[in-house]
C-alpha cells in the first residue's frame, strides 16, 4: 500500500508541470481571446502532448493514448492546480465516447475534433417533462420527411442549451415499436434554427443553468443518427456506462469541506468562533469521517482502475455517498451561519455552478437539492446499489413495467 505514485509517474508529473508552466495561462495576444477560444487553443497543445482527449483516436483530433488511470489522475491534479482547462466536461464528455463507439466515419470527422477542444458546444436532450428518473419514456418524436428528420416535442433540464451550437438527443422514430425502450434514435441536431425555442429555467438559487427546449418542426439531415435507427436507447446507455466507469473523485467534496471549515472558523457565535463550540466540533469531525472515507475510497477505485479490476460495491455508491455528504455539510453550514439565512444568497449562487466567488452557506444549502435532483435521484441510486451492488431483486413496480403491456 503506497499513496505515492512512484518515480516513473513522478517524472511524468514533472513533465506535466513544466508543460503547464510554459503553456498556461496564455500570453500576449492570445490572452485577450474569449475564454472558450483560449481553452480551445490550450487544449490543442495539451492534446498534441498526449495529455487530453486520450481515448480519442488521432484521426479525430484526439491524442490516442493507452489507458493509464494514474497518468490521467496526475494530469487532473496538475491541471486543476494550475487552473488550466481539463478535458471538456458534461454534456460533451458523454457524447465523445458514444461518437467514438457508434458514430459513422463522417460523424467522427465532422464533430469530434471541435468537441474535444471545446469549440463545438453541445447540450444533451434526454430528460423530458414528467419523465424524471424514467428516462426511456421519451415523447419527443422525429419523422423522416423528404430526407430530413422533423422534430416535435420538448426537452427539459437542458444545461447550456442557451449557448450550445448542437444538441445530442433521444427521439422516438418508430412510434409503433413494442415497449418504450424500442423505437428511440440518437440524433444530432443544430440548435440555431427556427424550430427550436430555448427558455431558461431559473433555479431556486436564482441562477439559470438549465433550460426547457421546445422543438416545433426543427430539422436534421437523415444521416445525423448515431448508431442504428431505433437503437438509440442502447447507444445512449453505452454513454451512461462510460460515465459510470469513470473514476470518481472526491475533489468537490474536499473543496466543500474546506469551505465549511473556513466558515466555522470565521463565523462568530456567542462571542467566539463557531469552531470552538463543542457541538460544532463534534459535527465537523463526524462529517470529516465521511469526507475522508470518500476521499480514500476514490484512491481505492483509482487503484482498481489501474489494475483493471472492478471496484465492487463501492463503485455503485459514489453518487449517493457524495450527495449525502454534500447535504450534511450544507446543513451544518446553514446552522453555523445562523441569522445569515435571512440574507438573499442569490448573488452568490452562480459560483456554485461554475462561476467564481465566495461560497455562501445558504446558497450551498439550496444548491445541495440540485445536486440531489441531478443525474438520478437518491432512490434510483439506492436501487442501483441494492440491485447491482448487493444483488437484491428488482422492484415489483419496475417488473410490472417490463411485462408486455
Amino acid at each position: 500500500m503506497d499513496l505515492r505514485y512512484g518515480p516513473e509517474y513522478e517524472r511524468f508529473r514533472q513533465e506535466v508541470r513544466e508543460f503547464l508552466a510554459e503553456t498556461w495561462p496564455l500570453s500576449g495576444e492570445e490572452a485577450k481571446l474569449e475564454r472558450v477560444q483560449q481553452s480551445a487553443r490550450f487544449r490543442k497543445r495539451a492534446i498534441a502532448r498526449g495529455y487530453l482527449a486520450r481515448a480519442v483516436p488521432r484521426a479525430y483530433g484526439g491524442s490516442e493514448q493507452p489507458p493509464d488511470v494514474l497518468r490521467a489522475s496526475i494530469i487532473r491534479e496538475e491541471f486543476a492546480r494550475a487552473g488550466a482547462p481539463l478535458d471538456v466536461g458534461a454534456p460533451a464528455a458523454q457524447l465523445i465516447p458514444t461518437l467514438v463507439a457508434h458514430g459513422t466515419e463522417e460523424q467522427k470527422r465532422a464533430y469530434l475534433p471541435g468537441t474535444v477542444t471545446g469549440e463545438l458546444l453541445w447540450c444533451q436532450g434526454y430528460s423530458e417533462p414528467g419523465a424524471g428518473s424514467d428516462l426511456a419514456s421519451v415523447q419527443t418524436r422525429a419523422e423522416l420527411v423528404d430526407g430530413e428528420w422533423v422534430i416535435h416535442g420538448q426537452k427539459i433540464w437542458t444545461s447550456y442549451a442557451h449557448w450550445a451550437e448542437m444538441i445530442y438527443m433521444l427521439v422516438r422514430t418508430e412510434p409503433a415499436a413494442a415497449g418504450k425502450h424500442a423505437g428511440l434514435s440518437y440524433l444530432l441536431v443544430d440548435m440555431q434554427q427556427p424550430g427550436i425555442d430555448v427558455r431558461p429555467l431559473k433555479s431556486l438559487n436564482g441562477d439559470s443553468h438549465f433550460n426547457e427546449v421546445f422543438f416545433d418542426g426543427a430539422r436534421a439531415p437523415a444521416d445525423r443518427i448515431v448508431g442504428r435507427r431505433g437503437q438509440g436507447w442502447n447507444v445512449s446507455r453505452s454513454t451512461l456506462q462510460a460515465e459510470r466507469n469513470a473514476v470518481a473523485t472526491a475533489d468537490t467534496t474536499l473543496k466543500q469541506f474546506s469551505e465549511l471549515l473556513e466558515l466555522a472558523k470565521s463565523t462568530r457565535r456567542n462571542g467566539r468562533p463557531a469552531i470552538e463550540d463543542p457541538a460544532v466540533r463534534q459535527r465537523l469531525v463526524e462529517i470529516e469521517g465521511y469526507v475522508t472515507s470518500h476521499e480514500y475510497s476514490s484512491h481505492r477505485q483509482l487503484t482498481c482502475a489501474a489494475r483493471g479490476e472492478s471496484p465492487g460495491l463501492i463503485g455503485t455508491m459514489n453518487k449517493l455517498v457524495g450527495t449525502d455528504i454534500a447535504t450534511r455539510m450544507a446543513r451544518l453550514g446553514l446552522e453555523i451561519s445562523a441569522e445569515g439565512a435571512l440574507d438573499a444568497p442569490y448573488h452568490h449562487a452562480e459560483m456554485l455552478t461554475g462561476g467564481s466567488g465566495e461560497a455562501n452557506p445558504v446558497a450551498r444549502f439550496l444548491h445541495s437539492l440540485s445536486i440531489r435532483a441531478g443525474g438520478g435521484t437518491s432512490n434510483i441510486q439506492r436501487n442501483i446499489i441494492g440491485e447491482r451492488g448487493l444483488g437484491l431483486p428488482r422492484d415489483f413496480a419496475v417488473q410490472k413495467r417490463k411485462a408486455p403491456a
Binding site: S127, G130, A131, G132, S133, D134, S137, I156, W157, L201, K202, S203, L204, G206, R269, A279, L334, E335, A338, E339, A341, L342, D343, A344, P345, V362, F365, L366, L369, S370, R372, A373, T377, S378, N379, R382, D395, A397, V398, K400, R401
Partner: protein
C-alpha cells in the same frame, strides 16, 4: 380537559384558509414573491377586512378579544399558504401595546391596528443577531431614541414601529419621524420583506409598561413562528403527498413505490405530532405563564426544524421542479429557513430551554 379546537376556532381557520386559497393561490404568491413591492396592499386589505388585525386585541379597543391560541391558529393558516406580508409584526405590535401600553396609548393605537387603518410592526433585532430584550442597546433620552434595528418585518410599509430599547423598554416610533431612516434588506424569503431601521435622535414615546411586556412579546413571537412553521410543514407534506399520487414513473404513480411511501410516512411522523406542541406553547402563553417562556422556546426550535426538514424532503421528492424558482416548494423552503432563525435560531433557543430548566 379539552385539548382540541372549538367550532369557532375551526371556523376561523377555514375562513382564512378559504380567503387565501382564493386571493393568494400559488400563481399570485409567485407574483408577489418576485415583485418589487414591499407590501401587496390588496392582500393586506383583505386580511384586515377578515378582522385579522384585531384578533387578539381586546373588544373594548375594537378587536375580537381572542387569545394567543387563536392568533397562533391564524398564523398556522398563513404559514400553510406561505402568505406574504408583515402579519406577524402587526399582530405582535398589537400584543405589545395591549400588554405594555397606557390607556391612552391603547386608545390611540389599538382601534386603528384592529381595523387595519394603521400597520404596525416590531423593531426588535439589533446587529449581531441580538433578539433578547435584555441585550438591546438602542438608547432613549429625552424622548428621543438612537440605535439600529435590523430585520424589521414590513418596516417600510409600517405606520408605527415598536422599537426595543436598552433595559428591555419598548418605544413607539411613528412613520416619518425625524431621523428615522429605512433601508430595504435583500432577503432570502421575499414573501416577508425586511428593512433596516436606523434611528438618530428620533422622537419616540415609551410604552408605559414596555419593559414588563417585552419578554412576553418575544415569547408570543416564538409561539406564532412555530405556528407558521407548522402550517408550512404540514402543507409541504401535503404537497409531497399530492405530487406522489399524481406523478407517474415507470407506468405507475410514484406513491406506489414503497420507498416513497415510507419517506412520506416518516415525514408525516416528523410533522404531525408537532401540531400539539405549538398549540401547547400558545395555550401556555394564555393560561400557564410560568411555563410559557420555556414552552415557546422549545416549540419554536422544534417546529421550525420540522419545517426545514419537511420542505427540503418535499423539494427532493419533487425532483427537478423542486429545485426551480418557478416551482412552489422553493417559497416554502425559504419560509422555513426564515422561521428557523427569525427571533433567534434553533440552537440558541435550545440552549435557552436548557438554562430555563436549570440544567
Amino acid at each position: 380537559m379539552n385539548f382540541g379546537l372549538s367550532e369557532e376556532q375551526e371556523l376561523l381557520q377555514q375562513t382564512i384558509d378559504q380567503f387565501l386559497a382564493n386571493e393568494c393561490p400559488p400563481a399570485r404568491l409567485h407574483e408577489i414573491f418576485d415583485g418589487e413591492e414591499a407590501l401587496d396592499a390588496e392582500l393586506w386589505r383583505g386580511l384586515m377586512e377578515l378582522g385579522l388585525g384585531g384578533l387578539a386585541i381586546s373588544e373594548s379597543h375594537g378587536g375580537a378579544g381572542l387569545e394567543m391560541v387563536d392568533l397562533a391558529l391564524a398564523c398556522e393558516v398563513l404559514g400553510r399558504h406561505a402568505a406574504p406580508g408583515p402579519y406577524l409584526g402587526h399582530a405582535l405590535a398589537g400584543v405589545a401595546i395591549e400588554l405594555g401600553g397606557s390607556d391612552a396609548q391603547k386608545e390611540r393605537w389599538l382601534p386603528r391596528l384592529a381595523a387595519g387603518d394603521a400597520l404596525a410592526t416590531l423593531a426588535f433585532a439589533e446587529p449581531g443577531g441580538i433578539w433578547d430584550p435584555s441585550q438591546w442597546r438602542a438608547a432613549v433620552r429625552d424622548g428621543r431614541v438612537d440605535g439600529v434595528k435590523e430585520h424589521v418585518l414590513g418596516g417600510s410599509a409600517a405606520d408605527l414601529w415598536i422599537v426595543g430599547c436598552a433595559g428591555g423598554d419598548l418605544a413607539l416610533v411613528e412613520r416619518g419621524a425625524e431621523g428615522a431612516a429605512l433601508e430595504p434588506f435583500d432577503g432570502l424569503d421575499r414573501s416577508r420583506r425586511l428593512d433596516r431601521l436606523a434611528l438618530a435622535g428620533t422622537p419616540c414615546e415609551l410604552l408605559e409598561r414596555g419593559a414588563a411586556a417585552a419578554q412576553r412579546v418575544r415569547d408570543a413571537a416564538l409561539c406564532l413562528l412555530s405556528a407558521d412553521a407548522f402550517g408550512g410543514a404540514s402543507r409541504s407534506l401535503e404537497m409531497a403527498v399530492e405530487f406522489a399520487q399524481q406523478r407517474e414513473q415507470f407506468g405507475v404513480t410514484i406513491a406506489h413505490f414503497q420507498a416513497v411511501k415510507h419517506q412520506l410516512a416518516d415525514l408525516a411522523s416528523e410533522v404531525e405530532p408537532a401540531r400539539a406542541l405549538f398549540w401547547y406553547a400558545a395555550h401556555a402563553w394564555d393560561a400557564r405563564p410560568e411555563q410559557s417562556e420555556r414552552a415557546a422556546a422549545l416549540a419554536k426550535a422544534h417546529v421550525a426544524e420540522r419545517f426545514v426538514h419537511a420542505a427540503y424532503e418535499t423539494a427532493e421528492i419533487f425532483g427537478g421542479i423542486g429545485v426551480t424558482w418557478e416551482g412552489d416548494i422553493q417559497i416554502w423552503l425559504k419560509r422555513a429557513l426564515f422561521d428557523r432563525v427569525y427571533f433567534g435560531d434553533t440552537e440558541s433557543h435550545r440552549e435557552r430551554a436548557a438554562r430555563l430548566a436549570d440544567w
